[in-house]
């Protein structure tokens, strides 16, 4: 007979109908033999049934249903009108086809020429960082640890991620006025592994820093900016400013809604006068 501990570990999967074949049979066989596991199963099932019996929790108001039906009907009308429009315009299509044939050699030349220029496509890491920033703002990604101390946050990431996170503390060391606040950190998923997420706030606006190993993500796409031997990739993603770059084995993404290219957000790591040469090239020209 299977150990109760093994079965109880699978009980939720069984209740959610996520087990198949042999595994499912194994749990069922155990439940028919073991009273205590069967009792636990019954309790869990009662609890889930209590929730599920409540469904649906809400019914769409009749006015909303009518509005949606109208939306769907209008789409039918659009769909219906498409063929008619196509038949009226058929002579135009024929004319366009002739023009296309005439212009074909020129178009082929343009495509071949353009294909030698690399496509400016936003990297998945930049997209992930922007999405993470947004989810955190919505409260869907609460911080797993809250602290204003860079040291505490750096230590928290020890043994949690496969790389070393060392957050600098320029404010403390320089004695400058506090321009930003460190809020805390959490782990986020990226490419089947954990990436480090650090939340800052500057002038009541959130800034997100996402870090992973450069073996997992390499910055690419967007507008390339050279500064102090590093290549920054700037992307504007749905109103957010995202800067990605790699340095010493790590890849970073800094997300904010600050002005211009969001280069102000760089002060979370680079505030000293000596760092001005890094920030200057990031400003739009």
């Amino acid at each position: 007979m299977q150990k109760c501990e093994d079965i109880r570990g699978r009980l939720t999967l069984y209740l959610d109908d996520e087990l198949q074949g042999e595994e499912r049979g194994m749990v069922e066989a155990h439940l028919s033999d073991c009273e205590s596991c069967a009792a636990l199963f019954a309790r869990e099932l009662n609890f889930l049934n209590a929730i599920r019996k409540g469904a649906p929790l809400h019914v769409a108001p009749p006015e909303l249903r009518l509005k949606v039906e109208k939306i769907l009907r209008q789409e039918h009308v659009v769909e219906k009108s498409r063929p008619r429009r196509a038949s009226r315009m058929s002579w135009l299509v024929a004319a366009a086809a002739v023009l296309l044939l005439l212009a074909l050699p020129f178009l082929v030349w343009r495509v071949v020429k353009q294909s030698s220029v690399p496509a400016v496509k936003t990297s998945s890491f930049a997209l992930k960082a922007a999405d993470t920033h947004l989810r955190h703002m919505r409260g869907q990604l609460p911080l797993e640890m809250e602290s204003e101390s860079p040291q505490q946050i750096s230590s928290w990431f020890l043994n949690k991620v496969n790389f070393s996170v060392k957050l600098p503390n320029y404010q403390e060391s320089s004695g400058q006025e506090k321009l930003y606040t460190l809020e805390g950190a959490r782990l986020v998923n990226y490419q089947s592994d954990y990436a480090a997420y650090v939340a800052y706030r500057m002038k009541d606006r959130p800034i997100s820093l996402v870090i992973t190993s450069d073996s997992v993500a390499r910055p690419s796409g967007g507008e390339e900016i050279q500064a102090r031997g590093l290549t920054f990739h700037y992307n504007a993603i749905d109103g957010l400013k995202v800067l990605t770059w790699s340095d010493r084995g790590l890849t970073y993404a800094l997300v904010s809604d600050l002005e211009e290219r969001g280069q102000q957000s760089c002060i979370v790591c680079h505030e000293g006068t000596k760092d001005r040469d890094l920030l200057e090239p990031l400003k739009p020209h």
Binding site: R52, L57, M137, P142
Partner: protein, 181 residues
Amino acid sequence: MMDGLVEMVEFGQAALEHIDALYGYALALTRNMTEAEDLVQDTYLRAASAAHHPDINGNLKSWLFVIMRNAWLNEVRHKNSGPKFVDLDTSGPPVDQLQETPHVVYLRKLEREQVQQAIESLPDAYREIIVLRDIEGFTYQEIATVLDCPAGTVMSRLGRARGKLRKLLSTWQTKSHAKVV
């Protein structure tokens, strides 16, 4: 030509079947009836005008949920603020009340209201995953697609959400049983 029209009508009918589920999910996301109604309409508009509809017998429901979630994320992004918190209408769905005694109807309504209130009071991420799994019956993989996260995250978050919900319900049910008795 006709095939496209027939497909569109079939799609409309099949999509409309999920309106209650989508409205419930919209309320879970927005916590606001007006915003939820807008979100439902926006979702149908985007779905109907999409170039390719999924198989109406297949993954239509989860496809609509993905559209709704993305539409909501865009909305939040534009507003640059978190969801607003207002009281929801707690009237439950109509049940076949004619076949039940008033006492059973009362107990059922009480239980549904408790479940509803407990779910509403969960933190955003927990509320969302309970609605997707226990109210709408999505599989772990479907939820992972809607939430754009690994299935492992779905399992762990669901476990924590149910733990929290269990605590809330057991407390409330103890109180209400005392009242009924």
